[in-house]
Amino acid sequence: MLDGILMGLATAFSIKNLLMVIGGCLIGTFIGMLPGLGPMSIIAIMIPVAITIGDPSAALILLAGVYYGAIFGGSTSSILINAPGVASTVATSFDGYPLARQGKAGKALTIAAISSFCGGTIGAILLMIFAPALASVALSFHSAEYFALMVVGLSAIATFAGTGQVAKAIMMTVAGLMLATVGEAALFNAPRFTGGIMDLQSGFSFITLAMAMFALPEAIFLVLDPKRSNTGDGGSGKITDLRITRDEAKQIAPVIGRQSIQGFLIGVLPGAGATIASFLGYAVERNIASEEDKKMFGKGSIKGLAAPESANNAACTGSFVPLLTLGIPGSGTTAILLGALVALNVTPGPRLMIDEPGIFWSVIISMYLGNLILLILNLPLIPYIAKILAVPRNYLIPFILFFTLMGAYIGQNNATELLLLVGLGVIATILRLADFPLPPLLIGFILGSMLENNFARSMQLYDGPSFIWERPMTMGLLILAAALVFLPSFRARRARLKRQGVAEGD
């Protein structure tokens, strides 16, 4: 492990990778600040750039930097103009914006930056402990367990993503899996579902799909509803006093400690992620606060600001655990990262730590670096970066659209891809209007071929589907997956029956 850490240090501290961290954090902060653009869209736009870099560790470091930067930028716009750029920083605006209105914007930004830094750093330490342990367990997994594990991941994501309607989320997952079967499967050497169209021979491009699912609908929504991109007068330079007092530091320290650990653990769970972590963190801290502190929540409590900020950053780090150790993404963002890694010929999974220790450890080391850079680089620069909030939407939206087009074009060098992008983007917008969650579709698409390969391998090994009941681990995981899918609807049904007064006794 020590060898690995040293190797990671050497890789992460190379000039090129340092530049990647700095660049990624800056780009992420800039774009994350723009209201309406989430980390998924930003990373999707950055992927063609990362892939052309060619070096997997540099690419992953860049994208991870963009991810943190985006979360950080999102909290800045939450605090300054009450317009969260990112869902996971909505809870930040509950107390951050009141603080800014009291003229304490500088203080709020400092608290946010310090909480994010601590959350991210504690998360990275926990990642260093958890990931190798989990990877060593995962090494004993066979393809049957992998198949079952992916089914568990997909059902967990569907259960968490479906806003009360699990069937919709599973439908999206199945749609993603079906999209993944289009094209020539490596396993069978035969084209499937191409409809004779040459351009579909190699299947759908993951970049195009990612852009179409996230960046494009986001931009179309911005056009549809001008209120979404209300940029206000955040850049008017009233951020002055950045200092916090010793007393305030004492108040927020335990909050940060608790929420970093809780956020990390939530981030590790598939499907949960930074948004849930930040809301839960806020709720927990409000519940355990003393009576007079409780009154402050929502009116500019520094505890209420520190809680979601440390939780969401820790959760971002936590979501790397299943990605790096099992090769299974737990969130939309890590799914996009997985797609990028596969495009770079790296297969994340338990072997990653053994086969490519350089990549594994340099990513973890760069997490520390990224957090440090966000703290020392962005804090003094915030008043200037905040100026970007004043970019008028008449300029902003054309550029967002242009970057999505460019991303799809660079990936494939093919104008047909652009038509595919626009078509899928319109479909995705309609799906979003009808409340169909889109992350399960993309995760299904990315996991599709891996799921089928592992399924096929186990079928061949056991000469039929008997591996499902002959391997206890596989069986257990599949039962878990079924429970994840059916429990919420079962509980909702029972609650409904109870309300009607016809529930049978326990």
Partner: protein, 158 residues
């Protein structure tokens, strides 16, 4: 019928076609030596088609209209939004896809950025056009020079 029922119905039709292909059409072209394999190219799609049909039916049966959302975009109030602008921008993106090869990257990008700015209501063309031009040239340099991906900058006759 609500929008989610429509979508689920369309998905059901797609699943039926997908299922028909995987159950009845795909196996015909399977080479004989593969027929003894426990898994065929159509095995996984068959499972998916079944799952998809079940999900689509569940959504069709269970769909209930979600409460009206105040601050989120709601399709039942689609008339309140700038749907014309959105449609125009989508059309512009399609036009961009067709224009990219023949008239070259720089011209099509400048046109795209300028026209979509105008569609959104920007009238200060003396600012818009120079910004679009600088951005187009800069991105072209980045993609072609730094990333090393060929993009034809000029129209076909140059």
């Amino acid at each position: 019928m609500t929008l989610d029922r429509w979508i689920a119905s369309i998905f059901l039709v797609i699943c039926l076609i997908y299922g028909y292909t995987s159950f009845f059409a795909m196996d015909a072209s399977l080479p004989p030596f593969m027929q003894r394999n426990p898994i065929w190219p159509s095995t996984f799609p068959k499972v998916l088609a079944g799952l998809g049909i079940i999900c689509a039916l569940l959504v069709i049966v269970n769909a209930k209209p979600p409460p009206l959302k105040e601050d989120e975009i709601d399709y039942r109030r689609l008339g309140d939004y700038k749907i014309g602008q959105a449609a125009a921008l989508v059309a512009l993106m399609v036009a961009y896809a067709f224009a990219l090869r023949p008239i070259g990257f720089v011209a099509s990008t400048v046109l795209f950025l300028t026209v979509s700015g105008i569609v959104l209501g920007e009238r200060k063309l003396h600012i818009l056009i120079p910004i679009a031009l600088v951005a187009a040239l800069f991105i072209w340099f980045l993609v072609d020079g730094v990333l090393g991906i060929f993009l034809r900058p000029w129209p076909w006759f140059v």
